[in-house]
């Protein structure tokens, strides 16, 4: 009973905050409300027994996305204070369209074929062979590792997409992220005390990801947050985008992933298949490399393209 009341309140709250972020007057408010929405949403994920997703949603869906959105809102939001929408009749059509989509989907809840489908049994049946304890990690790195590999390429291409927006002259230079101009000693303090803790936590997240919720994405996001903090506080110089060490960190994860994929051709004879008995160590090695790469890529995505005039 209490659980149902809680769920109902949570569902209403998520819908309400979601609607509020669509309607908010100022764009900066809309973005901040959206971040709150993301945090509430991770609570929903906990409630439907998807802890891995809850962590990802909090880290990437709300945290990393929120960081980018806030920066963009402050940069572009000043030009127009009020919310501009399409004119009268179009607005009515949009409302009708949106509500019919929502109602149609909602009604499907009652007509989805009665017997729920699930691959949970299949996943668990083969999971012991891989040595992993977390079934979600099993899906991500054993059964559907091809998706995960392609998704790494997607991240890499997204980074190139961001870099491509810099100018020819500044190619390979320092990203346009501005370190805090004033001497804010507290931020520097935070940037010196938090990263060791964050680093430990990121390693922990990745390490336990094989057996309990956690993993490379979540660990990587924590890593990225620490790095952005350090860059913003000006504690460490932001590296040049052409720096070989930086490039190595970016590709470390994909390289290990691809290497293990090709290793599968040699033994046991199939791309992305793991040699008997070596699945777990290989996956852990892959996740460690991926944590580093994801952390660096997420950090660089928020740092933006190299931009000579903003760098100083």
């Amino acid at each position: 009973m209490t659980e149902q009341v809680f769920d109902a309140a949570l569902a209403l709250l998520v819908m309400g905050v979601g609607a509020w972020s669509m309607m908010a007057g100022r764009i900066t408010s809309a973005v901040i409300i959206f971040i709150v929405y993301g945090l509430l949403l991770s609570l929903v994920w906990v409630r439907i027994a998807a802890i891995d997703v809850a962590l990802t949603e909090a880290a990437i869906g709300s945290g990393a996305t929120g960081m980018l959105l806030i920066a963009a809102a402050y940069k572009t939001g000043r030009e127009s204070g009020a919310r501009e929408t399409v004119s009268g009749s179009l607005h009515v059509i949009a409302v009708l369209l949106a509500s019919s989509v929502a109602l149609g989907l909602a009604s499907l809840a009652f007509v989805l074929p009665g017997e729920p489908v699930s691959l949970a049994g299949d996943v668990l049946r083969s999971l012991p062979d891989s040595g992993l304890g977390n079934p979600v990690a099993g899906v991500l790195f054993v059964y559907r590792s091809f998706d995960t590999l392609l998704e790494k390429i997607v991240l890499l291409v997204a980074l190139l997409g961001v870099w491509s927006l810099g100018s020819d002259r500044d190619w390979g230079g320092i990203p346009g992220l501005k370190p805090f101009a004033q001497k804010h000693s507290v931020l520097v303090l935070l940037a010196r005390t938090l990263p060791p803790i964050g680093l430990t936590y990121a390693i922990y997240m990745t390490w336990v990801g094989a057996d309990v919720p956690g993993g490379a994405f979540q660990g990587g996001t924590v890593l990225a947050a620490m790095w952005v903090l350090v860059m913003l506080a000006g504690v460490r110089q932001i590296p040049r985008l052409s720096s070989p060490a930086l490039r190595a960190a970016i590709v470390a994860g994909p390289v290990v992933f691809l290497a293990i994929g090709f290793l599968g051709f040699v033994s046991p004879g199939q791309f992305l298949a793991y040699p008997q008995g070596f699945a777990k160590p290989l996956i852990v090695a892959m996740e460690i490399a991926l944590t580093l790469s994801i952390g660096v890529i997420l950090g660089l995505l928020s740092a933006g393209p190299s931009n000579g005039k903003d760098a100083r």
């Binding site: 491509s164 490039r247 691809l258 298949a273």
Partner: protein, 503 residues
């Protein structure tokens, strides 16, 4: 609980590893380009493109010889748990088409974006070649993957690779075009994803072939099919979702525009056709198919009329893409829902795919030609094109040749394609669509002859024409030549395109 076993257990074929290589080699090359920071870039790009061509030819000959699809199961995990790759006749044809056009575009772009051997990398070269390779990888995934979620990731990879090509010039205009394209495309893929979420909820599998056997026309499935269709239409830029296409395709550098118009829009279109004909055939309600055909007809007319009204050559060519995409939607209604006169269905099917392939070659040639024109004159205003016929006859000839295919005049791939569609339309009594097929050709004639007339007009005094290398003209000419040569294929349904289709 009902754990679903894979019904159509995919039996891997010995050479199936070629499919995974077709996807992974370009991906590996991107990683190498970024990691090595320009060292050996030229070699990496050349080797990958060559491998693409060899693999595509090999897959096509395997499919052709065995008469059966090439199949690979990644990691040995059978669907529905794992992901299978499967190349049938149409996949093989599309893989080869894309490999050839990528190679031609690469050769064309070599001068402007020469990848460094040892010297430091530049923005244009790293971004252009990575994007090109990412598009090749994503398209090969789209042509071969049998897993709906894997296809979603591929669709997104294709979009994210296309965006930097659109905005490579970095002007406010191209940035705006890229942003609008991105919003449309991501909206489309979200609808697609929503559709496959519902399909998983109903059937517990994302494998295309298992779904084909399980699917029943219930409410959830119909909503899913509608969402997937609308999502893919937004990405394919079918009328009325075409608004993003012209500025995006016209704003990219010539080689980029060629690839975007010839191949990238075909990725989502390929998936749409695969789903409707192989996975949802039992859902093909004639009325719904008529809606798709009607949108296609509207695209033919609106796209052509807009092309006629353009003042800039690249925009004209981009609007022509909007129109030519429309033709492919007649296939949805011309391949009959009920098995009837099978030669009509086969004719429409072959005509539709021939249209996709010949449009790819003709449009790639036309965009490259338009790029050369802009480079020679320093602008692409149609009213100031006079005199090109004297200065750059080969480019004008190329433009005319690709125009012939787009108009559907014989002998050209475009003619055979439109003729076969027309035959199917008249045999089934779809007079309205037959009229649009003919009318679209006439409208195409107006915009193409309009441009040719300007090009062949006498040169006004004082027009400076920049020197254009012979090599790039020949590449462009060769592409247009392929579009014409496709017209010499026998005018009959092709068995190759039927190989591996679901019954």
């Amino acid at each position: 609980m009902m754990p679903l076993q894979s019904l159509a257990a995919a039996a891997p074929t010995p050479d199936g590893y070629l499919l995974v290589l077709a996807i992974i080699l370009p991906a590996t090359a991107i990683v190498a380009l970024v990691g090595l920071g320009g060292r050996g870039a030229a070699g990496i790009v050349l080797a990958t493109l060559a491998a693409q061509l060899i693999i595509a030819i090999r897959v096509l000959s395997l499919v052709w010889q065995s008469g059966a699809p090439v199949v690979y199961v990644i990691g040995g995990w059978d669907p529905p748990l794992g992901i299978a790759l499967r190349a049938d006749g149409i996949s093989a044809v599309m893989m080869l088409t894309s490999a050839v056009i990528f190679s031609a575009a690469a050769a064309f772009a070599w001068k402007d974006y020469r990848p460094p051997r040892w010297s430091p990398e530049t923005r244009g070269s790293l971004v252009f070649w990575s994007a090109l390779l990412a598009m090749a990888s994503a398209l090969n995934t789209l042509f071969t993957s049998a897993d709906l979620f894997n296809l979603y990731v591929a669709l997104e990879l294709l979009t994210f690779a296309a965006i930097p090509v659109v905005s490579l010039k970095g002007s406010a205009e191209t940035l705006r075009a890229a942003l609008r394209y991105l919003i449309f495309a991501v909206f489309g893929s979200m609808l697609y994803l929503l559709g496959i979420v519902l399909l998983y909820g109903a059937y517990g599998t994302l494998d295309v072939s298992s779904l084909a056997e399980l699917i029943r026309p219930n409410a959830a499935t119909l909503v899913a099919a509608a969402l997937v269709t609308v999502g893919l239409l937004a990405k394919t830029a079918l009328f009325p979702f075409h608004l993003w296409l012209p500025p995006a395709h016209a704003g990219a550098p010539a080689a980029g525009s060629a690839v975007l118009s010839a191949l990238v829009v075909k990725g989502s279109l390929f998936l749409l056709m695969r789903l409707w004909f192989d996975t949802f055939p039992s859902l093909r309600d004639p009325a719904a198919m008529q809606i798709l055909a009607a949108l296609g007809a509207a695209a033919v007319i609106v796209g052509s009329v807009m092309a006629i009204r353009q003042a800039r050559l690249k925009l004209l060519v981009a609007y022509s893409t909007v129109a030519q995409i429309g033709y492919m939607f007649f296939v949805f209604t011309l391949v009959p829902v009920l098995p009837g006169e099978s030669w009509i269905a086969a004719s429409a099917w072959t005509g539709g795919w021939l249209q996709i392939v010949s449009h790819a070659f003709a449009k790639a040639a036309m965009f490259l030609a338009a790029g050369l024109v802009a480079e020679a004159l320093g602008h692409d205003r149609i009213r100031d094109l006079a005199g090109l016929g004297k200065q750059l006859p080969l480019i004008v000839l190329t433009f005319a040749m690709s125009g012939i295919s787009l108009m559907g005049l014989p002998p050209s791939g475009g003619f055979s394609a439109k003729f076969m569609l027309l035959v199917a339309a008249t045999a089934e009594g779809h007079w309205l669509w037959a009229t649009v097929i003919i009318g679209g050709g006439l409208l195409a004639g107006i915009y193409i002859f309009g441009v040719l007339a300007r090009m062949l007009a006498a040169m006004p005094d004082g027009t400076a024409v920049a020197e254009i290398g012979r090599g790039r003209q020949l590449i462009t000419f060769a592409l247009a030549g392929v579009a014409l040569l496709l017209g010499f294929l026998p005018l009959e349904p092709m068995a190759l395109l039927q190989i591996g289709r679901m019954p």
